[in-house]
């Protein structure tokens, strides 16, 4: 699949706009102490047995890394998150698009060191499972700078308390 990348300037503009909204309206999302497990929500919108068993294999690898506190749901969250703490990352397997979206409220390069490390592990695991030639459910792994959907989704999810706001994830200007 050919992935249309947003130019860095446009991507940054989108995120700046979204982050502004996040700063203004976000609620919840406590500042996490260093080395605390990274909270990850997997949204599995697939409906076939093969794709489901493949994501189960992916989840086992995530759990084995010891870096994440993992939750999962079967469709995109809507409405305000009133039940759980916000997540560092949300990983989406959309039903009709052959991609895996790893969404967060800032660029991976801007994340705090421990959070960035967890992001990189997650991305590598996703690539090994889904970009594998032998995979039955092959998908391209995309982050917030890699497409329109992963760029837009974080703003909505952060406003509703599903994603942690950027200021709780980022290393700050010194990074």
């Amino acid at each position: 699949m050919n992935l249309k990348k947003l130019t860095p300037a446009l991507a940054a503009a989108c995120l700046l706009l979204l982050s502004t909204g996040v700063l203004a309206a976000a609620s919840g999302g406590l500042l996490q102490p260093p080395n605390a497990p990274v909270r990850l929500l997997i949204v599995d919108e697939t409906h076939s047995i093969q794709s489901s068993l493949q994501i189960a294999q992916f989840a086992r690898a995530i759990n084995a890394s010891g870096l994440f506190e993992l939750d999962a749901i079967a469709q995109m969250p809507s409405g305000d998150n009133v039940a759980t703490a916000s997540y560092h990352f949300i990983l989406v397997l959309p039903e009709r698009i052959d991609q895996v979206w790893i969404v967060t409220t800032d660029f991976p390069s801007k994340l705090r060191a421990d959070t960035r490390r967890a992001y990189e592990v997650l991305e590598r695991l996703a690539q090994s499972i889904y970009e594998n030639q032998q995979a039955l459910d092959r998908r391209l792994v995309a982050g917030v700078g890699d497409g329109i959907f992963p760029a837009i989704i974080p703003g909505v999810l952060a406003v509703n308390g599903w994603l942690m706001p950027a200021q709780h994830l980022s290393a700050g200007p010194a990074n």
């Binding site: 599995d44 047995i49 939750d71 999962a72 749901i73």
Partner: protein, 278 residues
Amino acid sequence: MRTTENTKHSKGVPNMKTRRWMVAAVVALGVLGLSLAGVAATSALSGRQIIEKVDAVDTADDATMLMSMTLINSQGESISREMHTWKLGKEKTALVFVAPEDVAGTSFLTVEMDGDDDMWLYLPSLGLTKRIDADSKSQSFMGSDFTYDDMGDRDIDDYEYTFLREDTIEGEHVLVVEGIAVDPQDTGYSKVVTWIRDDIWMPVMVEYYDLNGDLQKVQTNPRIENIDGYWAVTMMQMENVQTDHKTIVEMSQVQVNAGTPQEVFTSEALPTLLDRVP
């Protein structure tokens, strides 16, 4: 006068040897007549009628069993999985993987309602129960040579049937019926040919043909047992002749009419199935 078996005693009366041949011929004709009568009676059943008899075989109200599944590749390497299954009639099946550890707790539920299948899957590594597309039934069951459809009770209306011939397998008299798929894309097969024991109306062998009409898989049921009055296949083998891969499934600890609670066959119960394994 010296007489022998080959000497006629008098004109028109057959000698001993001739009489023996005549008796043998009468007996042979009698046997042939009986056989023909049997053939005539069996072929009076159409292919559809034969399959309906198989479908009508009495099954227990509910049954539980332990299943072991061994997958063998073309190099002879094998992996095994163990599952516990609960069945309620032909409409409901709940299954949980017991071993190996990486799949333990993964569970399935199939409920057939008004001809449609409702399928649910629980993934313990995600803590997620989700609904599965019914068309997933033509996919491989956990990497084996059986599809989910192969493992369950096939809808007899998916095929149009023709009685082909009688045959013998392992000394058992069988009827051979060809089924042409009504919608091959739906079934995943263009044709199936089934060898059926007509004493107990149970299939002993099935050939599956792919969408190109080529032989793809051969299933044999080398062990069929009567358990508390109900006939059950307790060993199945599926060989994919195109990939040289084989799967053997054995059932043990079979209990019929064990009183499985209805709640087992709900999507809410899936996360608890591993704890319910006796």
